[in-house]
């Protein structure tokens, strides 16, 4: 396909760029309202405890304190089940995570909120709230939580086993299974079988901006929220649900957002701030400290995964079996479903069984993190695939090519792939300058891995109004985390035949734009871009009618290209026609609302060279290439940016990052010093190769590029460490102590 585009594929400067390099852009915490109060949330010091008594009287008596709230101030959730975009969930869980009722389930669990004239006074007051706890035993990992006799988090959590309620209370919320073919017959055909079990630590998305919101419960009963969120409508719906208000009474204005990666989808602070505002009659700002972000927002699950793959002598995979137990944290809903869907999805294997377990533990309730669930899973699978390649003496990319999923391949979860770019990604890896360049030197190794993420659709809305000067104003509802105002505006500009600089995009509040799902699932350039495309087409349809009116021809006889309308020898530019709108019937506004079904999954690959210091176990990244199928790269610089960012997060996940927990369930490293994310000094330049296999489900072929790039790095780095140091790593992070331990175990000379 060689469609010629004017705007798509270029690299214009983003529309919000000047605001963001001058400090003018207003992020979550940058709003200041008259009479603003500052809040503080008192949090549990215990990982698991019964709340015996809360006495807020001393806090309320402190001068400067205007309101104190606890769970008792929230409306009862009863047994309501709600779907707020993340599947059906008991409202009591969502409410319980906002303010603990009865029990605290993790260190950092919110217990009470205070609003005062300053943040310092609020913090002081929180220290005066008396809470008596009856401390309970805690459980911190999925394997421990699944054991008979483990401490139970929820006395009402009945295990669902293969779709059926069992009647048994345990920490396993759900056990599900995907199967395809005949597993036993498959393994019987195998000449080589590799099976390994892996453990990965809880990690955090690590966005630099803490969660923050400002809420005003107005005297007319309207609740206004300004916050940092990936989805203003999710905040609106969740806040309304928890406060038992009609959604139309809540208005959410999404401020600029300082990173999210999935972690800014759930609602943590808004209902508490709303109650504090209601009690005090003034707007209230609540902001998490960095420690709160680690201990009380939603990291991504730690996991316990077994993968077993069987292959014939000539390298054909004949059977695959996987078991994934993911730590949901305090409430059910670990991203184990997506993990199970992705774990063997890159390969065409006829006989597959995948078991998933959603397990609650005494850690923060987990949230999505960039291709949620898939990175843990690919670490396991890609390590096993590398070992099979080694055992069979086949090049690891050749082995992947031989088994790559293609159009028509059926996944174990039942989905049959449409046009996908798995083969093209592996070919691009093989043909890359990086892969063709030999790696030399002692203690060095190269690893490869691939990864899959299915991407999301969800509803999006967009309106485009035409100005008399030939510019257009585009209103959409997707929080812009990485340049999507521009990637969306570019798609409208392409349809309208005007420069992207003449499209002025605005991210609107929930009163001003139609329902739009979260900025997540790599969906924004895909789905909101599609809404912009369709809205632009709606504009063009109306403009053709106006031109037809001017020329007294039928609208179907008017054609448009590159911003010029033509019919029967007549011609008029977009700008000239825009000047004549009032004279031809009034303003032109295009609109579209979509809920696209043609989501195109994205494959990605990594080639990485490392050096492992045999004395310290420290792994240094020497060279790193990220390869990804974008479908169509609307703004290639932003696509590269997504690939580089996902790679850096994947490197951090692989080598350093983890929640380091004490036996009592407290996080020992809840600062950005001790939770060690990659710095500029830890990374090389990150090379990128964009592959474009158009998604037939999008008018320009877009797949979405936000997530798949984080999936392969840990597996690729594990394989590189193996080829450098001779050890197969079975846990994340592969930090110096872990690598050293593996080296010592291998040489059986572990010092006493």
């Amino acid at each position: 396909m060689s469609t010629q585009y004017t705007v798509l594929g270029t690299r214009p400067i983003r529309h919000d760029g000047a605001d963001k390099v001058t400090g003018r852009a207003l992020y979550g915490a940058d709003i200041h309202l008259a009479g603003l109060l500052h809040g503080f949330v008192l949090r549990s010091p215990h990982a698991h405890a019964r709340i015996v008594r809360i006495d807020t009287s001393k806090a309320e008596a402190l001068p400067g304190v205007k309101a104190v709230v606890t769970a008792a101030d929230l409306p009862e959730a009863g047994d309501r089940i709600v779907d707020l975009g993340e599947g059906e969930t008991p409202l009591s869980y969502i409410r319980g995570n906002v303010l603990a009722a009865g029990k605290v389930l993790y260190q950092g669990h919110a217990v009470a909120g205070v609003a005062a004239v300053s943040a310092h006074v609020a913090e002081e007051a929180a220290g005066l709230i008396e809470v008596d706890y009856e401390v309970l035993p805690c459980v911190l990992t999925a394997p421990d939580a699944m054991k008979e006799g483990a401490p139970i988090l929820h006395e009402d959590l009945v295990t669902k086993e293969l779709g059926e309620k069992t009647g048994q209370v345990s920490n396993v919320a759900d056990h599900f299974r995907f199967s395809l073919g005949d597993l036993k017959a498959g393994f019987d055909q195998a000449d080589v079988i590799v099976e390994r079990t892996f453990d990965t630590a809880t990690v955090h998305q690590g966005y630099i901006e803490p969660h923050t919101c400002t809420v005003l419960w107005n005297n007319d009963g309207r609740v206004q929220v300004w916050c940092s969120t990936q989805g203003a409508f999710v905040v609106r719906d969740t806040t309304a649900c928890i406060l038992d208000l009609p959604v139309s009474r809540v208005k959410v204005t999404p401020m600029e957002i300082g990173g999210g990666f999935g972690g800014k989808i759930p609602v943590y602070l808004e209902p508490t701030a709303a109650l504090l505002s209601k009690k005090s009659g003034r707007p209230v700002k609540l902001t998490m400290s960095r420690r709160d972000v680690f201990e009380a927002s939603g990291p991504t699950p730690g996991s316990h995964i077994t993968v077993k793959i069987g292959a014939t002598r000539d390298g054909k995979f004949v059977a695959g079996e996987a078991s994934l137990a993911y730590e949901a944290g305090a409430y059910p809903g670990a991203m184990v479903g997506p993990g199970a869907m992705c774990i063997l999805a890159a390969y065409d294997i006829p006989n597959v069984t995948v078991d998933g377990y959603d397990v609650v533990v005494n850690k923060p309730s987990t949230a999505a993190y960039r291709a949620p669930g898939a990175t843990n899973a690919a670490f396991a699978t890609e390590t096993v695939v590398d070992e099979i390649a080694e055992k069979l003496g086949i090049d690891p990319l050749e082995l992947r090519l031989k088994n790559a999923a293609v159009e028509g391949t059926r996944r174990a979860d039942g989905v049959k792939f449409r046009r996908i770019g798995c083969v093209e990604v592996i070919e691009a890896m093989k043909n890359s300058e990086h892969y063709k360049t030999p790696l030399e030197g002692p203690n060095r190794g190269r690893g490869v891995a691939i990864g899959y993420w299915f991407n999301a659709g969800l509803p999006s809305s967009c309106t485009i109004s035409v100005s008399a000067d030939g510019g257009v104003n585009l209103v959409e509802g997707s929080t812009d985390i990485g340049g999507t105002r521009t990637s969306i505006a570019m798609q409208a500009a392409e349809v309208l035949g005007i420069p992207v600089e003449k499209v002025q995009p605005t991210v609107a509040d929930t009163d001003s734009v139609g329902f739009t799902g979260v900025t997540g699932g790599s969906r924004t350039t895909f789905a909101t871009g599609m809404a912009a495309h369709d809205a632009a087409q709606d504009v063009m349809r109306q403009l053709k009618e106006r031109a037809a009116l001017l020329w007294e021809v039928d609208a179907s006889a008017v054609e448009a290209q590159h911003g010029v309308f033509r019919s029967n020898g007549h011609s008029i530019t977009f700008q000239e026609l825009a000047e004549k709108l009032d004279a031809t019937g009034g303003p032109v506004i295009g609109r579209a609302a979509v809920n696209p079904k043609g989501v195109g999954g994205s494959f990605s690959g990594v080639i990485v060279d490392v050096e492992v210091d045999p004395e310290t176990g420290k792994t240094t990244i020497l060279r790193f290439t990220s390869i990804q199928d974008a479908g169509k790269a609307i703004h290639p610089a932003y696509v590269e940016g997504q690939m580089q960012g996902g790679s850096a997060q994947g490197i951090g996940w692989a080598l350093n990052e983890e929640y380091y927990m004490s036996a009592a369930g407290t996080m020992m490293n809840s600062s950005l010093l001790d939770y060690r994310m990659p710095t500029s000094l830890d990374l090389p330049m990150i090379e990128t190769i964009i592959v474009e296999v158009p998604n037939p489900g999008h008018p320009f072929g877009v797949r979405g590029v936000g997530e798949a790039n984080i999936v392969p790095p840990p597996g690729a780095i594990a394989n590189a460490i193996y080829h450098a140091a001779g050890v197969r790593m079975e846990r994340l992070p592969m930090n110096p102590p872990a690598v050293m331990e593996a080296i010592w175990q291998k040489s059986s000379s572990q010092p006493s």
Binding site: R14, K20, Y27, S118, R290, A637, S647
Partner: protein, 162 residues
């Protein structure tokens, strides 16, 4: 409530006085009292660099400086980098190189890079990476940030140091 103290400073070339409590950080003073919200809070313990400002010629994380310590000091924040309507070469280069995604760390990076140029107008890649090691970015993997700073360093030295 604690008694407030008057602090006299120069911010972005203009005299600026503010009243603050002795326990308030310079970051709080800049954001909540002076109203310069371009300086960002990421961690409030000196580890992320989002609140980086230049204080008497040195870069500091303003969350670790008390407002009262700024008495008599000259402070440069992200709001003081552009010259009128013209962006500083670093700002322009960040835009041209797509060196920001969410943008929350960007003010800190631009301020830190400006301070680097004041000491070393032509840094190599390693010098840039070492200088920026106290500024965390979670979106970009640093690649495009480092490139943007290297490109800005190739621009007119006087303009860069301005």
């Amino acid at each position: 409530m604690h008694k407030r103290v008057q602090v006299n400073t120069t911010i972005n070339g203009e005299p600026a006085e503010f009243l603050c409590e002795p326990r308030q950080s310079l970051l709080e003073c800049l954001r909540d009292i002076v109203g310069l919200t371009g300086t960002k809070e990421g961690c409030n313990d000196g580890n992320c660099g989002a609140c980086t400002v230049i204080l008497d010629g040195r870069i500091v994380t303003s969350c670790l400086v008390l407002g009262v310590e700024a008495e008599g000091a000259e402070i440069t924040t992200i709001e003081g980098i552009a010259r009128g309507n013209k962006l500083h070469p670093l700002q322009q280069s960040f835009l041209e190189n797509a060196a920001l995604q969410c943008g929350i760390c960007t003010p800190g990076f631009i301020i830190a890079a400006k301070a680097l140029f004041d000491e070393n107008p032509h840094p190599n890649e390693h010098e840039v990476r070492a200088w920026l090691a106290n500024n965390l970015c979670r979106c970009t993997g640093y690649d495009k940030i480092v490139r943007a700073i290297m490109q800005a360093a190739d621009m007119n030295v006087e303009e860069v140091k301005a």
